[in-house]
Amino acid sequence: MPPDGLSRLKWFTLGMAVLIVLALCPQFLPRFFTYLLALILITGLMATSLNVALGFGGMYQFHHAVFYGVGAYSVSLMLIKTNLPIALCFFTAPFASAVLALVMGFICVRLSKLYFGMLQLSLGSLVWVVVYRWYSFTGGDDGLHGVPIPSLISSVSGSFYFTLIVSVVSLGLMYVILNSPFGQILQAIRDNPERSETIGVHVRAHQLVTQVIAGFFAGVAGVLFVTVEGSAFPDLMSWTLSLEFLIMCLLGGWFTFLGPMLGAAIIVSLRTMVGVYTEYWTTVLAIILMLLIFFLPEGVIGYLEGFFKRPDVSTEEDR
C-alpha cells in the first residue's frame, strides 16, 4: 500500500487525535478505567512485541511471557534489593530480558517452526520453575509485592501517563524497525526461509536479532506492569499467559501491526466485563478462540484488510 501524501496526513491526524483523547482520559474517566486502560496498553505492547517474532518473523514464539516476567522481576529486584538510582533500574531491566532472549534465541534459532517453539517452551519453563522455587531471592510463588516505585509514577494517573509515553515510544520504535530493510527481510524469512538464505540472508542471525528485539520490548512491558501493579509474580511468566498473548495476536490479526493491540484491548476488556457476571469467563474466551480459528484465521484487522484492500492474497502458504 503506497501511502500518498494525503493519506499519510490523515493517518497522522488520526494518530494524534487518539493520543490526545488517551492523554485526557485520566481527567474524566473513573480511576478504575484509567487503570484498565494502562493495563490494555501494557498488554497490547506485550502482544505487539510477541507479534514482531510471530507474525512478522514467522517464529513459533510459544513462551514469550518469560521475557515479560524477567523484565518485571528485574526491575522489582533491583528496586527492592539494591540502592541503584531508580532511573537506572527502569532503564536496565528490559536489557535483562534482551540478554535472556539472546541466550535462549542462540539455542533455539538452530531449529524452526514447531521444534523452535517446543525448545523455547522448555527453556522458558526452566526459567519459570527457578523463579517459582527460589523463595529467598524471588519470593517463590508469592512473588514480590510492595515494590518501591517513586510516587510520581505510582499513582493511578501517574502510572497511566508513564505507561502511555513509554508504550507509544516503544510501538513507534517497533514500527520503524518493521518497516526498515531489517523488517522487510524478516518478513521474507517468514514467508520462505530457504529462499531468503539463497539470496544472501543470514537467516539465523536475523532471527536471533529479532528474538533480542522482541525480548527487549517484552521486558519494557514487564517494567510497565510493575509500575502499574507494584508487584511481580511467577504467573507473569507462565505458559498459559504466553498462550493468551498468542490469542491476542490471532484475534487482532498477526500480519498487521496494530492487530495485537486491538486483540489485547478486546481480551482485557472482555475479561473485566464478563468477569463481573460469571467466574467462567475463560469459557467465553475459549469459544471466541474457536470461532476465530474456524472463521477468521487472519484476525479482525487482517480480515478487514483482506476485505477492502487485497482481495488477492493467496492462502496457499497457510497449508
Partner: protein, 298 residues
C-alpha cells in the same frame, strides 16, 4: 528447618522406586500425547485436562460404589473410557475439520479446549480438592530387600510395562498401527491408496486420550485431585515428548525415565529445588540434541 541430607543406600533405592512409579504415570500420559503429536500432528494442550478429567471421573465412580474394591476397579476402567468417549466427540465434531491447519492454530485450538475442560471440571466438581484412598489390598507396604515399599507404587510399576507392550503391539502388529505409522510419514499417500485416513486418525486420537485418562485414573489414589493438575502434567508431558523425539513412543518412555528419576533423585540433593532438576535435565538434553534423543517420526 532441620532436614538431614545424609544419603543412605536404602533411601536411594526407595527414592528410585518412587521415581519409577512416577515415571510410569508420566510415561502413560506422554506416550498418548506423543502418539497424537506424531500421527495427527496436533500439539494437544488439552491432553493434561483429559488427565485431570480421568482423575476426577475415577474419584466419582469410586465414590459412587462407596469406595468398595470393586468400585475402585470399575473406576480405573470406566474413567479412561469416559475420557475416550469425550475425546471421540471432540475429534469428530471439531478436530477433523482442522487437520490441514498450521500447528500454531491447532495448538491454540486445543488451548481453547483446555480452558473449557477446566471450567467444566470447576462447574461439576467445584474448586475444592478431592482425595481417594486405594482399596485395602493396595494399602500399606510390602517388604522387598528388607525395605518397605508402598503396595500401590508397586502396582503402578506393573502397569507401565503392560502399557508399553500394548502400545508396541498396537503400532507394530495391528493394521491400524501400520496405517497410522504410514500416515505419520506421508498422509496424502495413505489417503491416495484408498484408506479412510479420517477414521484412523480418530482412533489414534481416542487411544492417545484414553492413555491420558488412564494416567489420571491411576494417579488419583496417590495425590490430591485438584484443579491445577492439568497445568503441571501438560508441561511435563510436553517436555518428555520433546526430549524423547516427537511422536516416538519409546522416546516417551526414555523421556519419562529421565524426568521422573531426576525429579525423585533431586529431592535427596536439594529438596527445595527438586523440581528444577528435571527441567534442567531437559534443557541439557536439548542443547546437545535439539530434536530429542530418539528419532522423531516426522
Amino acid at each position: 528447618m532441620d532436614f538431614s541430607t545424609t544419603i543412605t543406600f536404602n533411601g536411594l533405592i526407595q527414592q528410585f522406586i518412587v521415581g519409577l512409579s512416577r515415571t510410569t504415570i508420566l510415561f502413560i500420559v506422554s506416550s498418548g500425547l506423543s502418539l497424537v503429536l506424531g500421527v495427527l500432528r496436533i500439539p494437544n494442550v488439552a491432553h493434561g485436562s483429559l488427565y485431570m478429567l480421568g482423575a476426577f471421573l475415577c474419584y466419582s465412580v469410586a465414590t459412587l460404589f462407596g469406595n468398595s474394591p470393586i468400585g475402585f476397579w470399575f473406576a480405573i476402567l470406566l474413567a479412561p473410557i469416559g475420557v475416550a468417549i469425550i475425546s471421540l466427540a471432540t475429534e469428530r465434531g471439531l478436530f477433523c475439520h482442522l487437520y490441514d491447519r498450521e500447528h500454531l492454530m491447532l495448538l491454540l485450538f486445543t488451548f481453547a479446549l483446555m480452558l473449557i475442560f477446566h471450567d467444566a471440571v470447576k462447574l461439576i466438581w467445584g474448586s475444592e480438592y478431592r482425595s481417594l484412598t486405594p482399596p485395602v489390598i493396595f494399602q500399606g507396604s510390602l517388604p522387598i530387600l528388607g525395605m518397605p515399599f508402598p503396595k500401590y507404587n508397586l502396582f503402578l510399576l506393573s502397569i507401565g510395562p503392560i502399557v508399553a507392550v500394548g502400545l508396541w503391539f498396537l503400532t507394530q502388529r495391528t493394521k491400524i498401527g501400520k496405517i497410522a505409522r504410514a500416515a505419520a510419514v506421508d498422509r496424502d499417500m495413505v489417503g491416495a491408496v484408498g484408506i479412510n485416513v479420517s477414521w484412523v486418525f480418530a482412533s489414534v486420537f481416542v487411544i492417545g486420550c484414553f492413555l491420558a485418562g488412564l494416567g489420571g485414573a491411576l494417579v488419583a489414589p496417590t495425590q490430591n485431585i485438584t484443579q491445577g493438575m492439568d497445568h503441571t502434567i501438560i508441561m511435563e508431558a510436553f517436555l518428555i515428548v520433546i526430549i524423547g523425539g516427537l511422536g516416538n513412543v519409546w522416546g516417551a518412555l526414555l523421556g519419562a525415565l529421565i524426568f521422573g528419576l531426576t525429579d525423585s533423585m533431586g529431592i535427596m540433593i536439594l529438596p527445595q529445588f527438586s523440581i528444577v532438576f528435571p527441567y534442567a535435565a531437559v534443557v541439557i538434553v536439548l542443547i546437545f540434541r535439539p530434536k530429542g534423543l530418539l528419532r522423531a517420526t516426522w
